[in-house]
């Protein structure tokens, strides 16, 4: 049943976690969208998966791994090239208050 699962408060909570700010109209639209998504998941829940192990990946061949070798050379300038702001080799960001 769409329209009853997600509250506006939950939408605001998720927005806050993602550091996003929405207008009241956008919040309502997102609430409706998220409701629909949950309704879709409910549909999936109709399947009985009690005997099925959770699938996190379809390729179950296992993890390819690399040897522990340093293959990258220092390239601080290239890494900083796209930074909006930098100082003495550091990325500069608005002051973080602890």
């Amino acid at each position: 049943m769409a329209g009853t699962k997600i509250t506006l408060e939950q939408v605001r909570h998720v927005a806050r976690l993602a550091r996003l700010e929405w207008s009241p109209e956008q919040e309502e639209r997102l609430r409706a969208d998220m409701d629909e998504m949950l309704a879709y998941v409910d549909k999936l829940n109709e399947l009985d998966t009690k005997e099925v192990a959770p699938t996190t990946q379809v390729g179950e061949a296992g993890m390819p791994m690399r040897d522990d070798e340093v293959t990258n050379r220092p390239a601080a300038e290239a890494m900083l090239a796209n930074a909006p702001s930098s100082e003495r080799g550091y990325f500069k960001v608005p002051k973080i208050i602890e």
């Binding site: 909570h13 806050r16 976690l17 993602a18 550091r19 996190t56 990946q57 390729g59 179950e60 061949a61 296992g62 993890m63 390819p64 791994m65 690399r66 040897d67 522990d68 070798e69 340093v70 293959t71 990258n72 220092p74 390239a75 601080a76 890494m79 900083l80 702001s85 100082e87 003495r88 080799g89 550091y90 990325f91 500069k92 960001v93 608005p94 002051k95 973080i96 208050i97 602890e98």
Partner: protein, 479 residues
């Protein structure tokens, strides 16, 4: 405040860097102390379109730690994304393990102390994750260095089995010793490679349920851990005694003011929205891989202790002191070849060598003379070529000069004289000079024997072999 009526319940989460050359998911160097943002690449900077590739050595080191701590190694585990926004986390999530850690269960045994029996502290889990970058806070802006971003970590989570600040300190020391034995970590807290979060609650002594806990974040020295826990336990008891309730909150330790205070900035951060990392397939550890790692395990502190007590005849205390640091234990063993008296070597390392290391402020290995030279010195004592006092003098000189044992003994003229004719001549002189004392001795004043030995030693400049003096004097005085 009746502190005795309460019991502290403490669990620790320890983060430690793994000793790999490269980062967890990319080929950047993990070297500490590089210039800002030198060891970064698009992967550990979280650029769009990059893919992580797991470092095999990091997995092996996590397994080594797990085996050393008696954990079960998970044949199948997955990585998860832990999402939060902070400038030092370029992807907006940290790759970690949530529901399926690579190591489960396990325990760490604490040795007996003056105040208590040996204890077993259970572990909940050990998992692999990547570190974040480092922020430097300025006046008007913050600066970010991503060299640490993506450096492999393991997080070792204990059950709430610790009961005091002292317990927590003992656990951390034991854990660090194990990490160093298995080469998983260098345990350097001053470089941030060993950090600790403490979960602390209190309850009435004898109570079964746990109280509400607070979490003290990011402690980077054993001293801070012990101080912060002591303070926090006192604070919570005061609240409860005053009729109040302890709030569940995240705290920071202020070492200057010696108090905990609530952490403000991450108030929304506890909603991490974990989900399986889609960029990494499951981590499968086949039985052969676990066995291969097991076969490569070094002797662990507990086994070494047993061997020292059973095979070398040391006391439990002596063994505990020596095994606490792998470097010290290795050093002790390197002094042993061709020595008969293992106990004297143990005593020497525990007193002379450890004192030098303590006083120097440098790392143990840098501060002390080579173990082989100390072994040579002790062999000379055993062979009665030098006295124990001469060995101490020589050792102090070796620390300063960096020269070997033989050269130092020769240079300082510390070699012991065992030449019987020289000693016999000195004895004759002393006896001839003290006819009255000789008569008294022969009349039964046995105590005078020590006087004669001292006089001969003095005449020989302190370098004569005391056993030879004894034998010759006794023969002459009774003859």
């Amino acid at each position: 405040m009746n502190r005795e009526a309460y019991e502290a319940v403490i669990g620790l989460e320890v983060h430690t860097h793994l000793l790999t050359r490269s980062k967890l998911f990319c080929g950047c160097s993990t070297t500490f102390g590089a210039g800002p943002n030198e060891n970064v690449c698009p992967v550990c900077m979280g650029m769009p379109g990059v893919l992580p590739v797991l470092n095999r050595r990091a997995v092996e080191l996590a397994i080594r730690t797990g085996l050393a701590a008696h954990c079960a190694i998970a044949p199948y585990s997955i990585f998860d994304r832990k999402s939060y926004f902070y400038p030092d986390l370029p992807k907006g999530y940290q790759i970690s393990q949530y529901e399926t850690p690579i190591c489960k269960g396990g325990y760490i045994d604490l040795p007996a102390t003056e105040n208590g029996e040996p204890r077993r502290i259970r572990l909940t889990r050990i998992h692999i994750e990547e570190d974040a970058g480092k922020n430097i806070h300025g006046e008007n802006a913050s600066l970010v260095d991503f060299n640490r971003s993506g450096v492999p970590l393991i997080e070792i989570v204990s059950e709430p089995d610790l009961r005091s600040a002292e317990d927590a300190g003992a656990y951390l020391r034991q854990l660090r010793a194990i990490l160093r034995y298995v080469d998983a970590s260098d345990g350097k807290m001053e470089e941030g490679s060993f950090r600790c979060d403490c979960n602390v609650s209190i309850r009435k002594r004898g109570a079964k349920e746990y109280g509400v806990r607070s979490e003290i974040k990011n402690l980077n020295s054993f001293r801070f851990v012990e101080d912060a826990i002591d303070y926090e336990v006192g604070r919570q008891i005061e609240i409860v005694e005053g009729g109040g309730k302890v709030a569940q909150e995240t705290l920071l330790w202020d070492p200057a003011r010696k108090e905990t205070r609530p952490m403000r900035s991450k108030e929304y951060a506890n909603d991490y929205r974990y989900f399986p990392e889609p960029d990494l397939p499951p981590l499968i550890v086949p039985a052969e891989m676990e066995e291969k790692v097991r076969a490569s395990m070094p002797e662990l502190p507990a086994d070494r202790k047993t061997r020292y007590v059973r095979e070398l005849g040391l006391t439990e205390y002596e063994a505990d002191v020596l095994i606490a640091d792998r470097d010290v234990a290795d050093y002790f063993e390197a002094t042993l070849p061709a020595l008969k008296n293992r106990k004297s070597a143990a005593n020497w390392v525990m007193t002379e060598v450890l004192r030098v290391a303590r006083d120097s402020g440098e790392s143990f290995v840098e501060a002390v003379p080579p173990a082989a030279e100390v072994g040579a010195l002790l062999r000379m004592v055993e062979g009665q070529k030098i006295s124990l006092n001469a060995a101490k003098t020589a050792f102090a000189a070796m620390v300063k000069s960096g020269k070997g044992a033989e050269a130092t003994i020769a240079a300082l003229g510390l070699a012991q004289v065992s030449d019987e004719s020289a000693i016999a001549a000195a004895c004759d002189k002393v006896l001839a000079a003290e006819p009255e004392k000789v008569a008294e001795y022969r009349a039964g004043r046995d105590k005078l024997f020590g006087f004669f030995v001292g006089a001969v030693m003095k005449a020989m400049g302190g370098k004569a072999n005391p056993k030879v003096i004894n034998d010759i004097l006794r023969a002459k005085l009774t003859g």
